[in-house]
């Protein structure tokens, strides 16, 4: 597989904080157009990896290629093709939904119609004049997703996108991400704690434990007698037991 056929490719990606290795040399290969679930327990290194992918944290070692290019070579060109959502649903609280999206639109050079398109996509139009501080957690999450989708990115990097959404919202976002992947060829790289959700949505899953990518699983090839949740818990629990012995 060449870097050009991959949306995300990392080699030996590592990040140390003092003596602690938050990410200890991972090789990720996310194919274009696929939905890739990135799973791990708390503190496994998921968010640090996502931050490194977006240039928010500098790797201690290793290389990153996004959509065939390196952030170091042309940061702006690469980032203009990526939509992202990191950890919490953050927005400017005094600004309305529309104003928050308008800031993103201007800074990504998107056309004015893009704001209406993503508001319709995420069912935010009825809240367009409401300030972000008055939105529910679920609608703030939708606003963050709308931000990520506003400039029609080729790659979506999402950290816990279903966080705070009600069951109906989760189903809706799942359908949206599936459609973006199937119909528009958008690659989705997402971390989540909702393993059932990831199992239904992802094509492949990478499991990170203690800063290392311990397994990549094709969701279609999971044994029938084991769910992704059971597989994940078995794998990470075995590793934890191995570490304590």
């Amino acid at each position: 597989m060449t870097d050009q056929s991959l949306a995300i490719s990392t080699r030996g990606l590592a990040r140390n904080y003092g003596d602690v290795a938050a990410v200890a040399g991972i090789d990720l290969h996310v194919r274009r157009g696929e939905i890739y679930g990135f799973l791990g327990r708390n503190g496994a290194g998921k968010t640090t990896t996502i931050r490194m992918l977006l240039g928010l944290v500098k790797p201690s070692a290793g290389t990153i290629s996004l959509l065939g290019s390196s952030l170091d070579d042309d940061r702006r060109a690469v980032l203009s093709r990526i939509g992202y959502f990191v950890e919490s649903a953050a927005a400017y609280p005094h600004l309305t939904v529309r104003e928050n999206l308008d800031i993103q639109r201007r800074l990504t050079g998107s056309p004015p119609a893009a704001v209406d398109r993503v508001m319709d996509l995420l069912r935010l139009r009825e809240y367009q004049r409401r300030t972000a501080s008055r939105l529910s957690l679920g609608n703030r999450q939708r606003l963050s997703l709308a931000r990520a989708l506003l400039h029609a990115p080729e790659l979506l990097v999402l950290d816990e996108p279903a966080n705070g959404l009600d069951p109906a919202g989760i189903v809706e976002i799942r359908a949206l991400l599936r459609r973006l992947s199937d119909e528009e060829g958008v690659t989705v790289f997402m971390s989540s704690h909702l393993l059932d959700e990831v199992e239904q949505l992802a094509d492949r899953v990478g499991i990170i434990h203690d800063g290392r990518l311990v397994e990549e699983v094709d969701c279609r090839l999971l044994p029938a007698e084991e769910t992704l949740e059971e597989h994940f818990l078995r794998l990470t629990t075995e590793r934890l037991k191995g570490e304590t012995q």
């Binding site: 240039g55 928010l56 702006r76 980032l79 953050a90 927005a91 800031i103 800074l107 300030t131």
Partner: protein, 262 residues
């Protein structure tokens, strides 16, 4: 992506924020209080019977003529020390809010050169402080006219405006250091603590021979708060300019490098 676009978005971020109106209200209140003190000093014996307010008015204007030059001189003093604190509040808010509200990580991963954000935010601070200064001058003129002070001439007004805007420029020069503390400490409290510390430093060094070499003291000395302006020269101007360069370089360095989001 032009820097004008980024500046436009930075200005949009001010919309509906209470802090903007609070800063304007504080500056109006400062001019109103100065006007009230001058009005009280029209009759010094009556001022002495007005309790604490009368004492404050006597402290501020006692023994001085009740006229426009005295009144506007006091406004300039307040513009210096008030401007130092206000520029810190503005810089802390403009830079620190991105971290306090969790939006820094979104901003810094945008396909926009990061220095554009730093430059645009400094321009926002400059515009904000400039408007506040003009507002304070206007409020002072209205207050002085209401209490019918004598002695207003075009040259007094021009000199006051020049000194006020000059002080605002010096306060702005100190703001990037506050911005750096805001992005380093990722919020509001660090820079506001730093600003209070600089006011203490300004006061301490302002009373020693080191005043002309400490940026925050220079502003106090230039405002006339420590008496007639003496001992300030090109060296002091270089210190203020150097403070701006240092603060801007540190803030840029922080925002340009990785490892700088929440």
């Amino acid at each position: 992506m032009s820097i004008a676009t980024v500046l436009g978005t930075e200005l949009l971020k001010l919309r509906r924020s209470r802090i903007t109106w609070i800063t304007f209200a504080v500056y109006a209140a400062m001019a109103a209080v100065a006007g009230l003190f001058q009005w009280m000093m029209k009759d010094p014996s009556a001022a002495r019977t007005l309790g604490l307010m009368g004492q404050k008015a006597t402290l501020a204007f006692g023994g001085q003529p009740v006229d426009w030059p005295t009144f506007l001189g006091f406004i300039v003093e307040m513009g210096g020390l008030g401007g130092l604190l206000m520029s810190a509040v503005i810089a802390a808010w403009v830079f620190g809010r991105e971290y306090a509200e969790g939006t820094a990580k979104n901003m810094l991963a945008l396909p926009v050169p990061r220095w554009h954000f730093v430059a645009a935010k400094i321009v926002v601070c400059a515009l904000w402080l400039g408007l506040l200064t003009a507002w304070m001058l206007a409020a002072a003129v209205i207050a002085g006219a209401l209490i019918q002070l004598p002695g207003l001439t075009a040259s007094v007004l021009a000199s006051t405006a020049g000194r006020l805007f000059g002080l605002a420029a010096m306060c702005l020069a100190c703001a990037p250091l506050v911005a750096w503390v805001a992005v380093q400490t990722r919020g509001y409290f660090g820079p506001l603590g730093f600003a209070i510390g600089t006011l203490v430093l300004a006061s301490v060094f302002g009373h020693t021979g080191w005043g002309p070499w400490v940026p925050w003291s220079i502003i106090g000395l230039c405002s006339g708060a420590a008496g007639p302006v003496t001992g300030l020269g090109a060296g002091s101007a270089a210190v203020v300019a150097g403070t701006f360069v240092l603060g801007t370089a540190l803030t840029l360095g922080h925002e340009m490098g990785a490892d700088n989001a929440q």
